[in-house]
Amino acid sequence: MPLTTNTILICAGGACVSAGEESVKDALERKLKEYNLQDIVKIVETGCMGACSLGPIMVIYPEGVYYQKLTPEVAEKIVEEHILKGRIVKSHLYKGEKGEVIPQPQEEVAFFSRQVKIATRNVGVINPLDIDEYIARDGYFALHKALKEMTPEEVIQVIKDSGLRGRGGAGFPTGLKWEFARKSPGDKKYMICNADEGDPGAFMDRSILEGDPHSIIEAMTIAGYAIGAQKGFVYVRAEYPIAIERLTEALKQAREYGFLGENILGTDFSFDIEIRIGAGAFVCGEETALMHSIEGKRGQPRVKPPFPAQKGLWGNPSNINNVETLSCVPPIIFHGPQWFKQWGTEKSPGTKVFALAGKVKNTGLVEVPMGITLRELIYEIGGGSPTGKKIKAVQTGGPSGGVIPAEYFDTPVDFESLTSLGAIIGSGGMIVLDEDDCMVDVAKFFLEFTVDESCGKCTPCREGTKKMYEILDKITNGEGTEEDLETLEQLAYIIKDSSLCGLGQTAPNPVLSTLKYYREEYLAHVREGKCPAKKCKELISYVIDPEKCVGCTACARVCPVSCISGEVRKVHTIDQEACIRCGSCIEVCRFGAISKVTPAVSVEVEE
């Protein structure tokens, strides 16, 4: 292998690919070849580096210079300036809150420096398609240690001692789960990886599968050894084609290296893993529904007990863990339980990956110690609001979770604290909401999702959530009453108490938490026909300020229903009756002359 002077890590995560990573890479390759540098500068396509809103991004080693928002032209310039002449291209370095350029290297950038990476330790660092790079980062050392130096019981004890809790949502102690499966009688046992992450706003599992598939293979094999399984299944969403591709390749490599298959590492232990592809059903993230789907059936949940550890796949004892949980396993085995416990809180040790989305500057994936406050997460790492508007709340835990208002942002993020606020960590989605977001609309949004995704097996979930959605729809249309709010609350508790699986039991949470913290917004809708966030279409009107309108006609030209009239250079007006409130006009007006008002301007209907 020729000696390399520079290594360029370029993020090939989904977000960067969609932002044009390939053309940037092509430009790099072209330019390197032009200067005959292709052999001494190595380009590595990695998994997601996390800072999705800044993509495409890359890091150049040995210096660790981090470049963002790349284009093919900039990539060419970087080859000519940085690689060839050693001059850093300042225009595309990370910028701080006030636009100041942050000094290098990458580790000093606030977005990265506050993070502690365990589950995502290799994501964005190695080439996911090269098993040697995984091994070079201590990969498969934990498997070796477990198989050669530890009994299955000892492996389980280490996981128990580490305090690792399931990262898929419920936070159940992982070691205990393994012990149940180990102790459950049966010759045939299965180890399942739940890669059917479906919570809107969470994408850490996709990122791990795409960026570090070997960590999942290693963890599943260790878990398989611990519980006494012979076979493993990874149940992955069909919406994640890149993850499926990379995992398939990784499985092939692991078999070639003898980390999977017969007599792994020369021991008596044999284990193999197979991928099963989902087919688009949210409920399949629920473990019993997931197992039904692997069996080739409709993914419908069943009553527990019996738990999967007793009767799982095809009636055999099975153990299911989420992707992020599993990726924590190899480092825990390798470094020991105490190492893991140095981060996090007493009851929630370790780290958690969060997906920051919504009204925050640095959207993307971050892994931080449990116990960090929401404020640190949203403002220091997330960079706060991108528009300067006031951040109002954060929605956590997707459709099973709730909203946390800004006044609680000093709450530490761990399983217990968020639950006490009526939200949950869930799989780690954090959707930041600002003053433009209507809480009734947010609640309605999640209910619409649940109605769609309810598998239909049990009545409270199938019919109850539909009824709740109808009421919320009525409220956002300005037709709701105060009595509706009471019905909504009643229904919420009934559905929570009587649904069969987690999907239904948690579906009312977005409604309950918004009612708890933002009841005045609901009341404004039902009492005054107002939407304080000016989001609900039926309750707002667009109006033109005659003082500011210069008659540029931009709004009239863009209006899809031609409801704006006025002569050139004269004040324009909107025909409220014809207006469909699409908002196109407000977007194009450069004079700030158009604004939204609530309640809607009443339109006089002629008899």
Partner: protein
């Protein structure tokens, strides 16, 4: 169009790839669907799969209709899956949906008359960092604006008429 023989071959292939000889229905249906440019599974072909795997037609149909990724009707050459999750919604997803429906002149689950585009909703695509996002066949498009999404559609149309 697949023949009965082709189906047999696909089922046998799936059996050799699988570690467990148990029910391979969903796995095989994915493979069948990949064979069709129109991204669908003709009901009679699904029935053959059932015969090969010893599964009743009722059960095959049950599975076909439960999962949103499967379709028994032909879909467009380009299946546009629009993420309708909250992160995309708060980032202006509503306007993207309006622009798409307007540009394509179709509603959800419909296919354009020229057979090019089918519009479908999807759950979170996991690209919330660049919301709003759509997926067209296997490609992702992020940071969308109504103008950008119209341009993408027009680009695909142009590419197709050449």
């Amino acid at each position: 169009m697949l023949t009965k023989e082709d189906v047999k071959k696909i089922v046998n292939e799936a059996k050799t790839e699988a570690l467990e000889e148990q029910d391979l229905l969903i796995y095989t249906l994915h493979k069948i669907q990949d064979h069709y440019n129109e991204n669908y599974i003709p009901p009679e072909v699904a029935e053959w799969v059932g015969e090969e795997l010893n599964v009743t037609p009722a059960k095959v149909y049950e599975v076909l209709t439960f999962y949103t990724m499967f379709s028994t009707k032909p879909r467009g050459k380009y299946v546009i899956r629009v993420c309708t999750s909250l992160p995309c919604h708060v980032a202006g997803g509503r306007e993207i949906i309006n622009a798409l429906k307007d540009e394509l002149k179709i509603d959800w689950n419909q296919t354009t008359k020229d057979g090019l585009f089918t519009l479908e909703e999807t759950g979170c695509l996991g690209l919330c960092g660049v919301a709003p996002v759509i997926m067209i066949n296997k490609d992702f498009y992020g940071d969308l604006t109504p103008e950008k999404v119209r341009e993408i559609i027009r680009e695909l149309r142009r590419g197709d008429s050449e």
